[in-house]
């Protein structure tokens, strides 16, 4: 006899498209962001194919520029930003705090529709001629020179921004107002802390990008001249406003991944986190200080040197909480019972790659180095280490970890391990050579490049093909698990947390009666302090 759960409680398309259940909305997001990930990945493959040879011989310059623009726009706004919050966060935030749903289920569904609408605008822009501004939409190129699809793409980003705002708003209200009795702030899973911090960035930063792209649209369509140098406008002001959001947006991508890693490291070491409050508060510190560092994107953009100094200093400060997290994760594994199951492989990969990504970020915050490597492949390599090596590793790890909970099925573990290895190796082969090419001086967004840099690009393209196989594999074994996977049971990992105490897949209401919380998550044994305190 099959028990009633959120998946079989209602059938048919309408029961999905009109659902207010946070778990079903999470799956709607999962399907749509996977589609966009595929699209963004397709553009990435075109880029890597073109760059196999120094001459621009596969695509025309115009097409190439549109391809990397769409790669950036799709991956940033339609995959990375919604990935962990909208899929894993949506599914887990209410469950982890002992609530039946998010505070505003209808707004949650609305956010998905808004996301899809924004996506349609962007796809329209891509299909009706493309946009060639780069995902950064720098003025005056985007207002004066580029083709008119900028409007459509900008509107797509504007609309999608509201989906992000609504998700963040929902999380904040839910975490404040919907916690089960006894679920105090310091008993919250670290996943919740990181999602709370992420939501702060979403609601405080996203409106600024919305108004900024709106100003670009107004300048294009209505001939208002806010960034127009002829009217005394300053293109650098656009960059300030753009990065006021877009730098913190990096933390929208990485903070949830950090939350995932905190959960993974605890479960697969069978140990509570080392230094809970430091890990929890470092998330908030990253969210807050992360708002004060945007000007490190403008060191060579004609920003005043003193502003550069301030931004450089603050950028070093924001590196510290990230370092604290990395050290605490490592320390958590000490004297643990470390399992080598696939989610943990992603977590270990994350720690290593994020360390490299973070430290190369510190190099870019160093003004004297940035003047040379700014806008080169060094930057490209750095942010892919954070976004792919960090955010996507975290997403993949989390997806594997909670897949049995979401679907009630176990996937094929050897296949998952293989994919994790392929992704790790493919990733490093793709992006490490780009550090070298960058320091050699290869500028980003170059369709053709000097021949002496070919060796690094060939390596990178070779790595990309391994990476592509690594990302394609889960599509098969995860789907396969839906039909043939063994039943997961409530807690396949021996993990400690509210989500593992309800059936897999969870019932629609999550909890029969509101749970009363008596202690924090991941308590595997009575605690004891380390010798020195």
């Amino acid at each position: 006899m099959e028990t009633l759960n959120y998946l079989n409680n209602g059938h048919g398309l309408a029961s999905w498209l009109l659902t207010k259940d946070h778990k079903r909305i999470a799956l709607l997001y999962l399907v749509s962001i996977t589609a966009f990930f595929g699209l963004g990945g397709f553009f990435a493959m075109l880029i890597r194919l073109e760059l196999l040879t120094p001459a621009g011989d596969l695509l025309t310059s115009e097409t190439y520029n549109k391809v990397f623009t769409m790669h950036g726009v799709v991956m940033v706004f339609f995959f990375l930003i919604p990935s962990i919050p909208a899929v894993l966060g949506n599914f887990l935030v209410p469950i982890m705090i002992g609530a039946k749903d998010l505070a505003f289920p209808r707004i949650n569904l609305l956010s998905w529709y808004i996301y899809v609408l924004g996506g349609l605008f962007t796809l329209t822009a891509a299909l009706t001629g493309g946009v060639d501004t780069g995902w950064t939409f720098y003025t005056p190129y985007s207002t004066a020179a580029a083709n008119s699809n900028v409007m459509t793409a900008a509107l797509g980003i504007f609309i999608t921004g509201f989906s992000s705002i609504l998700t963040g708003l929902n999380f904040i209200v839910t975490i404040h107002r919907m916690r089960a009795p006894g679920m105090t702030w310091f008993r919250l899973p670290l996943f919740i802390w990181s999602h709370y911090a992420t939501s702060l960035v979403m609601i405080l930063g996203t409106p600024v990008i919305a108004i900024t792209v709106l100003m670009v649209a107004a300048e294009r369509a209505l001939h208002l001249g806010i960034f127009d140098p002829a009217l005394g406008g300053d293109p650098v002001l656009f960059q300030h406003l753009f990065w006021f959001y877009s730098h913190p947006a990096v933390y929208i991508m990485i903070l949830p991944a950090m939350g995932v890693i905190s959960e993974l490291v605890q479960t697969f070491s069978r140990k509570n986190i080392f230094g809970y409050s430091f890990v929890a508060f470092s998330s908030l510190a990253i969210a807050v200080v992360g708002f004060l560092v945007w000007g490190h994107h403008l060191f060579v953009a004609g920003q005043s040197t003193y502003a550069g100094l301030l931004f450089s200093l603050l950028s070093f400060v924001v590196a510290i909480p990230s370092a604290i997290k990395v050290f605490n994760w490592s320390a958590t594994m000490y004297k643990g019972s470390v399992s080598w199951q696939s989610p943990m492989l992603y977590a270990i990969g994350f720690i290593g790659l994020f360390t490299i990504g973070g430290l190369t970020g510190v190099m870019l915050a160093t003004m004297g180095i940035d003047i040379h490597v700014h806008d080169t492949y060094f930057v490209v390599a750095h942010f892919h280490y954070i976004m792919v090596g960090g955010a996507i590793m975290g997403y993949m790890g989390g997806l594997h970890y909670w897949w049995p909970k979401m679907t009630g099925r176990l996937y094929n573990e050897p296949a998952a391990k293989t994919a994790a290895f392929l992704i790790f190796i493919g990733f490093n082969l793709t992006f490490f050579p780009q550090f070298v090419a960058g320091y050699l001086g290869m500028p980003r967004r170059y369709h053709a490049y000097p021949p002496e840099m070919q060796v690094w690009n060939v390596m990178s393209s070779a790595g990309a093909s391994i990476l592509a196989i690594g990302y394609a594999l889960p599509l098969f074994y995860l789907l396969w698990s839906l039909y043939r996977g063994a039943a997961a049971g409530a807690d396949p990992w021996g993990a400690k947390g509210l989500e593992w105490e309800i059936p897999s897949p969870p019932p629609t209401e999550n909890f029969g009666t509101t749970p009363i919380i008596t202690h924090g998550t991941h308590q595997y044994a009575p605690s004891k302090e380390v010798g020195i305190v």
Binding site: P140, G302, A323, S337, H447, V533
Partner: protein
């Protein structure tokens, strides 16, 4: 195919060593911490690998001492990086007095250069080795970025204003010039060569240019052709301030504010004359927006500037150089 594997860029300027030194320091720190973390994680994963299904880890809640250690030590290291990096940045952005100046104009998709001696180049820049060079750069359309990897210098070139950069080449040779800020379809074609030459060879190369083509001479001609001379003169018709000995000096504006007359100010006064009117003059000057190109603007600035240099030629006929400079419009 890959006979020589390029691993590190050539260092051909006095600044390159400074940048590379900070870079090596950061690479060392990065390598140290990456290896440290990778080693810790790997060792823990192997040493504490789960032995049986019911095994649990030892419950350790944390250590304040360790937390403080790995907060304070990284912080101290980053402050060293900050200080060092900022010092290098200041050295890289402050041109020395007396640097040879060259005007650069970026446009989709080419670089134009004007030497003070009159030579003009496109997508090439000849410079002497051992002499500090200061580039004054403007853009005709969108944002570009002037980037010479071998010199480790880069600066965005922004429409509506002037950015400067400077360097001293140390090795003769031909180096890449890239546009580093995405500027449209042929962005990756907006490249060129920096040709650093021994001073003697450079002098010979410069000898090919004609003095009347110098920016100062061209600017003086424009000053006549655009009829600037009809107002910027002494006497009853002199409705605009006289421009001798103005550049580089402080100018008092209407309302009492003061500005230094630099490139940006002269540019603004030509394009948007009412923005900062000199005290004692009427705001009667028409705008020259759209009438002068970026290159002509630079020539006019070069001319106005030449009027402030020792032994400058009189501004124009009709100017009484004994008149105390009152500022300019």
């Amino acid at each position: 195919m890959f006979k020589n594997l390029p691993f590190f860029p050539e260092a051909a300027s006095a600044q390159a060593g400074q940048v590379d030194a900070v870079f090596f320091f950061l690479v060392a720190v990065t390598a140290f911490f990456s290896v440290l973390i990778a080693a810790l994680v790997t060792i823990f994963a192997i040493k504490y690998k789960r032995k049986h299904d019911d095994e649990i880890g030892e419950p350790i809640h944390g250590s304040l001492v360790l937390e403080l250690l790995w907060t304070v030590i990284p912080f101290a290291i980053t402050m060293v990086m900050f200080g060092w990096g900022a010092k290098v940045f200041f050295d890289l952005t402050r041109p020395p007095i007396g640097a040879t100046e060259i005007y650069i104009v970026g446009k989709q998709w080419m670089w134009k250069a004007q030497h003070m001696g009159g030579m003009r180049e496109i997508n090439e820049l000849h410079i002497p080795v051992g002499q500090p060079i200061k580039l004054i750069m403007g853009s005709e359309d969108v944002i570009h970025s002037f980037y010479i990897p071998a010199f480790r210098v880069k600066s965005d070139v922004i429409p509506g204003r002037y950015n400067t950069m400077w360097f001293t080449a140390t090795k003769a040779g031909t180096y890449h010039l890239f546009c580093a800020e995405y500027c449209g379809t042929k962005h990756s074609g907006m490249i060129g060569s920096i040709i650093a030459m021994e001073p003697a060879a450079f002098e010979a190369w410069m000898g090919g240019g004609k003095a009347e083509d110098s920016p100062v001479a061209a600017g003086a001609k424009l000053f006549q052709d655009l009829a600037c001379i009809t107002c910027h003169r002494t006497g009853a018709q002199g409705r605009g301030p006289i421009l001798t000995n103005v550049f580089g000096h402080e100018v008092e504006l209407q309302g009492g504010a003061k500005v230094i007359a630099d490139e940006a100010y002269v540019r603004e006064s030509i394009l948007n004359p009412q923005a900062k009117v000199v005290n004692g003059f009427q705001p009667v000057m028409p705008t020259f927006q759209g009438l002068v190109t970026e290159e002509q603007l630079l020539q006019l600035i070069a001319y106005v500037r030449s009027l402030s240099q020792p032994g400058a030629a009189p501004a124009a006929e009709g100017t009484n150089s004994a008149t105390p400079p009152q500022g300019k419009n």
